[in-house]
């Protein structure tokens, strides 16, 4: 143990010395590692803050663990009686408060607020449910109407645990990106110091030695930046907490987590480049020094006769140093693109946050009649309600018996491949698909009536991505006319137009049963092969473009068609009240009071609350958007630094070249112009590459969030995002390109010239003295 400690100390001391004397070489690593650690800290501190915030919210706003609502007097009394016990130690729960609600017909219902006893109420929860709550719920004729709500006090542990996967997956992505970035930087360094590694190898360094030498240096750097990064991140977090009113807390567990991740990143980042170095022959590495370092062998000399000095010289030197420039460009492009996609993620986050939310849902206790459309109308008219989303009893239709046939020429080539099947291959029998059509999985049916039309139109008005082509009301007047959405998992798959004919394949009987557990694509194949269908031709009356859609396209039929085609008369089973997420507290209260007024009349409806405002408040206080902006800005500031120091080293090594040019009679101004041209060419190249890279990276992020992740059930499809690059991002691309390409050529060269002039002046002074 002691030996290990001595070894560590010795290695650290050695690396520290080498870093101190060659700090310029390490500036980019200091910056990169500082940045990486700051991100790690910021993430962990945000997790800590959010945990603290959840806890604070629960403790300050709630005194009860469970509320049981919509109880009859009998039920309320039974529950109240259960709380009495002879011995205090036998007491499972206590009733804190009882709320009474009377409806228009004089019926009274009760809500009981319950506190579970004991230090760990989670343990009493099961007992409470089993012994007291479930018997009451099970005995009730209107079991579904009893509303059991668990307060954050009891769900706290779960809520906190639920945060972890998100944070840890972001941490994982961060880690991967850090490895990539550090590897890029290390590659630049290796390119600069090939010669040194060649000497190391000539005198016996093997892979392990090289790896450890490199890793120790970076570990030393990271030890030096660990605390400053923590302070920096804590200051940012504190500033956010102070301005947004969120909690602030630092948990000690994150220190080892960050440090271990840090070590892992360092080893992962140097392992590959060092493997590459150690496989080279020392002579190949050493000759790099003779050939002015960074030059790739020209294979053939440039024909310099008759060439003009600055311009052609630049062309040849860009070609000479192509590998170096390529590396530099590559890393600059990756950094800019990373920063831009962080900004893009930020904009997606904002879109998501500002998307309408559903704070209340209303269900009918009597499922036969459902909810009165007049009631729905009334709720829709309440101020603050953006629209109502309707759930109908059509949702219960057998999912895997029917499917749709789309005209082949209306299916986009990039259509989500999971669902679109044209012909089934690899199976013995050819399935039945009508000529000129392609089959997709079943649709989500919904009835078209004045209520749903109003809802769709309001959604269309609020959502800029959404457009409705054709006349929704044509569905009401012409039988067999339908409304369809054109997307699957938020990506447009069909180019349907009003007037198109599609086919609904309805299950008649089966030849063989299908395996309901197989994947969706497989299910469709099996259906096609084993079922017998009736085909109903439908005319597209209107197409909804750009609507958030999950795995099924929406198919809207008139009430009459629902009866005649599907055999079900539509009944509203649930209303989702959609509101603006940014309602003020007063507006929220007014809205709630208004809804309660209507509920007073329709007493057999049950209102459930989702607590979205509270959640929105908590996330707002975390300042995720601001954090993302800060992260993007840090990446942006950081890269030019790396670029600059890399160029400084590069020019340092080219000093001889310039000195020789000067000695051979080139004029300073000409060399300077040569560099300006070099810089402009680099900037241009940089700009083009950065733009391309940003578009691609944003596309990956967009597809992932919009389509891929939802298709695996990881995210929801409630918001449909927009893909693109904003003007701000364009400006960033431009600025980065200028900084990296132009200034990083200009400044180091001027440094060289001024040094040269100083030397010359000193020499003159000496001459004068003699």
């Amino acid at each position: 143990m002691e030996e290990l400690w001595i070894k560590i100390k010795r290695n650290l001391a050695r690396s520290y010395k080498s870093i101190r004397f060659n700090w310029k070489q390490y500036v980019s690593f200091f910056a990169a590692i500082f940045l990486m650690q700051s991100f790690f800290w910021l993430l962990m501190l945000t997790l800590d803050a959010q945990t603290a915030q959840l806890r604070k919210n629960a403790e300050e706003n709630y005194d009860y663990h469970i509320s049981v609502g919509n109880l009859t007097q009998d039920e309320a009394i039974r529950l109240q009686n259960g709380s009495f016990a002879v011995f205090l130690s036998d007491k499972t729960y206590e009733i804190l408060r009882v709320n009474e609600r009377q409806d228009a017909y004089g019926h009274i219902t009760y809500t009981l607020y319950i506190e579970l006893m004991g230090d760990e109420p989670e343990q009493n929860l099961r007992l409470f449910e089993r012994k007291y709550l479930n018997p009451i719920v099970n005995a009730s004729a209107r079991a579904s109407a009893i509303i059991v709500d668990y307060s954050p006090l009891i769900t706290l542990t779960e809520d906190i645990a639920a945060l972890r996967p998100t944070y840890y997956s972001i941490l994982a992505v961060f880690t991967l990106v850090s490895v990539l970035v550090l590897m890029l930087l290390y590659n630049i360094r290796i390119n600069h110091f090939k010669f040194m590694y060649g000497i190391y190898m000539a005198f016996g360094a093997d892979y392990k030695k090289l790896l450890y030498t490199a890793a120790w240096e970076l570990i030393t750097v990271s030890l030096m930046t660990l605390a400053p990064a923590l302070v920096f991140a804590a200051l940012i977090r504190l500033a956010l907490s102070l301005t947004l009113g969120g909690s602030f807390s630092v948990s000690l567990v994150s220190i080892p987590i960050v440090f271990l991740l840090n070590l892992a990143v360092i080893f992962a980042a140097v392992a590959l480049p060092m493997r590459w170095v150690s496989a080279r022959r020392p002579v190949a590495l050493l000759s790099a020094e003779d050939n002015a370092n960074l030059v790739s062998s020209p294979r053939r000399s440039f024909d310099l006769f008759g060439k003009r000095f600055p311009r052609h010289y630049v062309q040849t030197s860009i070609w000479r140093y192509r590998t170096y420039y390529l590396r530099l460009l590559l890393s600059s492009v990756i950094f800019a693109a990373l920063s831009i996609s962080v900004l893009y993620i930020g904009s997606m986050y904002t879109d998501n946050r500002d998307a309408p939310t559903v704070p209340y849902t209303i269900t009918a206790q009597d499922n036969e009649e459902g909810i009165d459309p007049l009631f729905a109308d009334a709720i829709a008219d309440i101020e603050g309600v953006e629209r109502i989303e309707y759930t109908y009893n059509l949702e219960g239709l057998p999912a895997y018996s029917d499917h749709l046939l789309m005209p082949s020429n209306r299916v986009k080539t990039n259509a989500f491949p999971y669902y679109v099947v044209s012909r089934v291959q690899g199976l013995r029998a050819e399935p039945v698909v009508l000529e000129g059509f392609r089959a997709i999985n079943h649709a989500a049916y919904f009835p078209i009536n004045e209520n749903t039309i109003a809802s769709l139109e309001q959604q269309d008005a609020a959502d800029e991505n959404m457009t409705i082509e054709g006349d929704l009301r044509s569905v009401l007047t012409t039988p067999g006319t339908v409304v369809v959405s054109d997307s699957i998992y938020n990506s447009t798959c069909f180019t349907l137009k009003p007037g198109d004919k599609i086919q609904l394949a309805q299950y008649v009987k089966y030849a063989r049963a299908i395996d309901q557990t197989s994947s969706e694509k497989n299910l469709l194949r099996q259906q096609l092969l084993r079922y017998v269908f009736d085909y109903v031709e439908l005319t597209v009356g209107a197409v909804i473009h750009g609507m958030p859609t999950d795995r099924n396209i929406m198919l809207g039929l008139s009430d009459a068609d629902c009866v005649s085609i599907l055999g079900i008369s539509p009944v509203i089973t649930e209303l989702s009240v959609v509101t603006d997420p940014a309602l003020s507290e007063a507006e929220q209260e007014a809205l709630r009071a208004n809804i309660d007024d209507f509920m007073y009349v329709y007493s057999d409806y049950v209102l459930r609350e989702a607590g979205v405002y509270e959640d929105a408040e908590i996330t707002h206080r975390m300042g995720i958007e601001q954090l993302l902006t800060i992260v993007a800005a840090m990446i942006l500031i950081f890269f030019p630094l790396v670029c600059f120091f890399s160029q400084l080293l590069f020019y340092f090594k080219r000093n001889k070249e310039f000195a020789i040019l000067l000695a051979l009679g080139a004029v300073d101004a000409e060399i300077c112009r040569a560099h300006r041209i070099e810089g402009i060419m680099l900037s241009l190249l940089n700009f083009i590459l950065t733009l391309g890279m940003s578009f691609s990276l944003n596309w990956i992020v967009f597809s992932a969030v919009n389509t891929w992740l939802p298709s695996y059930g990881i995210l929801e499809t409630t918001v449909r995002y927009q893909y693109g690059i904003s003007p701000l991002m364009l400006v960033i691309c431009l600025v980065i390109s200028l900084l990296c390409g132009f200034l990083s050529c200009e400044i180091p060269y001027h440094q060289f010239i001024s040094r040269q002039k100083k030397l010359a002046a000193a020499a003159d002074a000496l001459d004068d003295a003699h």
Binding site: N22, I199, A205, Y207, R281, E289
Partner: protein
């Protein structure tokens, strides 16, 4: 001769460089056998392939054909990592153009082999002191290579090659930058250390006076290696 161990053996080694459309054969079927403790000199005109051959023998480069044995180990077949360690343990190299690391001081340059390859049961301090003293580097230890004269750089490179007490030392014109007196002094030093630890010395040189001190001389001619009979 028969009870002496062969420490270096090269068997028809070929090294070619392809440059765009021309092929340069730098070393052409060179064979050599060196016995433990021997001092072998390689002479030849400039560009004849001496350095290339020395690099091949020292395992710094890989030949296109042929094999090279050091202490009976075929270094041409060794994986890069094993070869690196092998170099560190048994071989020392003095490069023609010194190849000192410009950002390291003289002392740091000298100590590179010791940090790269920790030889067990070996204490450097005594040896280092003696080397520095003999090479006259005492007051130049903390200078950067750019602050040293060509001859001083050469001597730092020599110290670096000898610090690990390698069994075979490959020296590429170690006296190239030195005047007569200094050249002789350096040679004496190399021979002295050689005598102390029974080192084998393979040296490329232009200097016939130095070559004459060798046990055997080879001549490199256009990539081909011939023994010189005296």
């Amino acid at each position: 001769m028969e009870n002496n161990r062969i420490i270096l053996e090269a068997q028809s080694v070929i090294k070619q460089y392809t440059q765009y459309d021309a092929v340069v054969t730098a070393v052409n079927r060179a064979c050599i056998k060196v016995v433990e403790g021997e001092f072998v000199a390689i002479i030849g005109s400039s560009g004849s392939g001496k350095s290339t051959f020395l690099h091949l023998c020292a395992g710094m480069d890989r030949p296109n054909a042929g094999s090279i044995y050091i202490r009976g180990n075929n270094i041409t077949a060794m994986p890069a990592d094993v070869l690196s360690r092998f170099r560190g343990n048994y071989m020392g190299m003095i490069f023609q153009n010194h190849n000192l690391i410009p950002q390291f001081t003289a002392l740091e340059n000298i100590l590179i082999p010791t940090t790269m390859c920790n030889k067990p049961d070996f204490s450097y301090e005594e040896h280092l002191k003696r080397l520095i003293k003999t090479l006259g580097l005492e007051d130049r230890l903390h200078h950067l290579p750019s602050e040293l004269s060509g001859g001083q750089q050469q001597r730092v490179a020599i110290a670096r090659a000898l610090i690990n007490m390698p069994q075979v030392v490959f020296a590429d014109e170690p006296t190239g930058n030195l005047d007569r007196a200094n050249a002789d002094e350096v040679l004496e030093l190399l021979l002295e250390i050689k005598a102390q630890i029974g080192q084998t010395l393979v040296m490329v040189t232009h200097d016939m006076k130095i070559a004459e001190r060798a046990d055997r001389i080879y001549r490199m001619d256009n990539g081909e290696l011939f023994p010189v009979i005296r």
